[in-house]
């Protein structure tokens, strides 16, 4: 238990330092950091409405954060959550287009979200196969696949999947059968519950099952894992594919519950923020949920901050960036210290 708490320290410290730096940035722009942060806090946790909004904003980050955590745990760098998310959303939009109103709701959702997960998994599998068969660096492969996915969405929403009779480069609105139900009068939707469930499953899988153990061992030390008889390549491949499935699901849920249409710039960069979420969550699924809620709160609160304190919402990106920088620095510092003994 004490170790668990000790693991939280770098994350909390990184958040504190990042907030301090952004406070300085706010102060330099001539505003009061106190007022700004008060507005941010108000916007994030000031009312039940805003709390629900935080959960909604956190939802895609939880799933993409899990994607990052899973692949990093396996010792591979899936930087492609963004592309996998887009392909997932695309797959769901395509299934909805074909299925229309012919299928009843629960089945439609299962099919749609299943297609989203499968789409993301497939997109990740391309990078994984390239890595294992051809030795292609997965960082480069996944980043490239992100661009391809964005281009693919852009092409499809302006061509084959463009709304009928409309003039905007976007798909038709999803038929109601494919829309995830709301859980409350706010924007809170069933997808949030699905994301939390996914986190629990991932947590259990990683730490309570043999495959999870093998995946972690392979990720930390592939040589030792191989000598212990663990099929390292296979674990790595499936970790990558599962990672893609999580990201794809994030795209499907966002499409189904929030936007209902696919268009260019569908994702504000969730797949990239996910890296910060995964690292801040110390690559543990539960940690990812907490980190995603933090980033969700920043996102939800930043609008209020802009409105009432007059501080640009862009400030939260300073927090994003600083969190990663400080985490990396703190990790390094910790390692040096532990080696000193």
């Amino acid at each position: 238990m004490r170790q668990r708490i000790a693991e939280l320290v770098p994350s909390l410290l990184a958040v504190a330092l990042a907030l301090a730096v952004s406070a300085a940035v706010v102060w330099l722009t001539g505003s009061s950091p106190l007022v700004a942060f008060a507005a941010l806090l108000e916007g994030a946790v000031g009312s039940r409405d805003s709390l629900a909004e935080v959960a909604v904003k956190a939802c895609p980050l939880i799933l993409t954060g899990l994607a990052v955590a899973l692949s990093f745990r396996a010792g591979t760098w899936n930087i492609g959550a963004e592309g996998q998310l887009l392909v997932g959303a695309l797959a769901m939009a395509a299934v909805a287009q074909v299925g229309g109103s012919m299928v009843p709701r629960p089945l439609a959702l299962v099919l749609g979200l299943g297609a989203a997960a499968a789409g993301g998994a497939l997109w990740a599998a391309i990078a994984a196969a390239l890595k294992l068969r051809r030795g292609v660096n997965e960082v480069i492969a996944t980043i490239m696949l992100n661009f391809i996915a964005a281009a693919l969405v852009s092409y499809l929403v302006q061509g084959p999947l463009m709304e009928q009779g409309g003039r905007y480069p976007q798909t038709d609105a999803l038929p109601p059968e494919f829309v995830l139900p709301r859980l409350a009068p706010y924007r809170l939707h069933l997808g949030v519950a699905l994301a939390l469930l996914a986190a629990l499953v991932a947590q259990f899988g990683l730490f309570r099952t043999r495959h999870g153990f093998e995946l972690r061992a392979a990720g930390l030390n592939a040589v030792a894992a191989r000598l212990a008889g663990i099929p390292v390549e296979r674990r790595l491949f499936w970790a990558f594919v599962l990672s893609g499935a999580f990201a794809g699901l994030a795209g499907g849920i966002e499409l189904s519950a929030i936007t209902r249409r696919l268009y260019e710039r569908f994702s504000p960069g969730w797949g990239y923020t996910a890296i910060a979420v995964g690292l801040l969550g110390r690559l543990s699924p539960i940690g990812v949920v907490l980190a995603a809620l933090f980033f969700g709160a920043l996102d939800a609160g930043s609008n209020t901050m802009q409105r009432t304190a007059g501080v640009s919402a862009v400030v939260v990106y300073v927090v994003h960036g600083c969190v990663i920088l400080f985490l990396a620095a703190l990790e390094r510092w910790q390692r040096n210290r532990s080696q000193g003994t």
Partner: protein, 523 residues
Amino acid sequence: MPPASDDAVSSTRARATEAPLLAVRGISKRYGRVCALDRVDLDFHGGEVHAIIGENGAGKTTLMRILAGEETADSGDVLLEGQAVALRSPNDARRLGIAMVHQHFALADSMTVVENLALTLTQPGEWRLSRKAIAERVEHWAQATGLQLPPLASPVGELSVGARQRLEILRALIRASRVLILDEPTAVLTPQETEQLFALVRRLRSDGRVVLFISHKLAEVRDLADRVTVLRQGRVVAHAKAPLTDLHELAEAMVGEPQVEWSKPPAQVGEECLRLDGVSTDADAFGTPLRSVSFTVRAGEVFGIAGVDGNGQQELFEVLAGVRPPKSGTLWIRGKSVSPRSPAELLDAGVGLVPPDRRREGLVLEMSVLENFLLHRGTLRRFTRSWGILDWLQARSYARTLVEHYSVRVPDLDSAAATLSGGNQQRLILARELEARPQILVAAHPTRGLDFAATQFVYRTLAGAAQNGAAVVLISTDLEDILTLSDRVAVLYRGQLSPTLIPPIDPLRLGALMSGLEQGTAI
């Protein structure tokens, strides 16, 4: 302070009777809660070889690093010729003429001999490096010290370990006009190379330098040292002076408890377990490919494979571990030929592995002790329940019994394996592998870096495995390992295996085979 007189004083040795050249007074150093050195007082006289011996963690290396300016003491003084000196950095030590040769060489493998010495041989403020001028200086120093150097233009990576060490020593000598510190210098050498090193050290001693020699091999200390200091848990616990007669006493001082003489009981040999038939491997950028290696190992015996590192040991281990498929030849396990494509197949066939590099290959350092006990295919399977769920409760109690049975000293089962000492890491690996009941145990360099007590434990455990009917393959560069444990021995040289030797084995014959002086023809 030990009395400073010696019966057989030669003219140069007479300097030893003067005031100490180097002395430490009340040196203490703590790392967190661990006290590495506790008010150590020592005198070192010019013209003497002073051996510092002790177990791992006794503080030997810390003390030497303080003298070399790589660590600073928490309290206490270092006196050079009676004057207190400040050693805040290796540069300070260099100015005072103190230099250290580390166990792990600090040479750039891809650069040539001259290039590796260039920085040491350049004066402060000298901007232009002329290869020719440096080469001349290298020759000058080589002559002055009588060190035989390899061709100056050859890349260091291609040199033998002994040659690399000579290079390190030369580099240290250029700086060490007064004090030369050698940290376990013989760990990587053949017997012949060790002899050369000792001859060199004796020569240096006669120049009036202090030579400090860290070791935990008592036989070497007896051969070389004029004075011996034993450290245990950061304190000086014993002094001795040449000639050393009772090594037993020193061993006890080192370990802190009475040592029982132990020798391996004779083998009860059973049926053939493992056979290699003309196994060769592909050449790659590093290492040495195996060339038609054949041997058999039977149940109950220890087959020792000696050799200088880099002669195919890694390749042989990898073949036996199933991570390097042979190019040609056959591997037989209990009469069945196998061509493993992964360690899994061999583990299932009853092979246990003690890998050469325990930190990189034997453990996942970031994982807990408990998890490392599970790091074996068979053990994992044993604790997997339906739906692939691990039974952590059972696994935990299993790990607890192993910790007790193999006396692995761990803070608790949930602390990272990285926090264990080398000896305890090896105990963990041995426990994990032996509890999987292997019929064939492949142990590579099992005592590397371990201290006296931990080494003894490894010996007893491996011999115990053989006695319980396992066929043990012992790959080691340490002759003591080989001679203590093996029922039969062969030497690996440039990827080829020598004819099998049967004890009693002449270490010099073994050394000749190891250095290729005597060509063994592969069977």
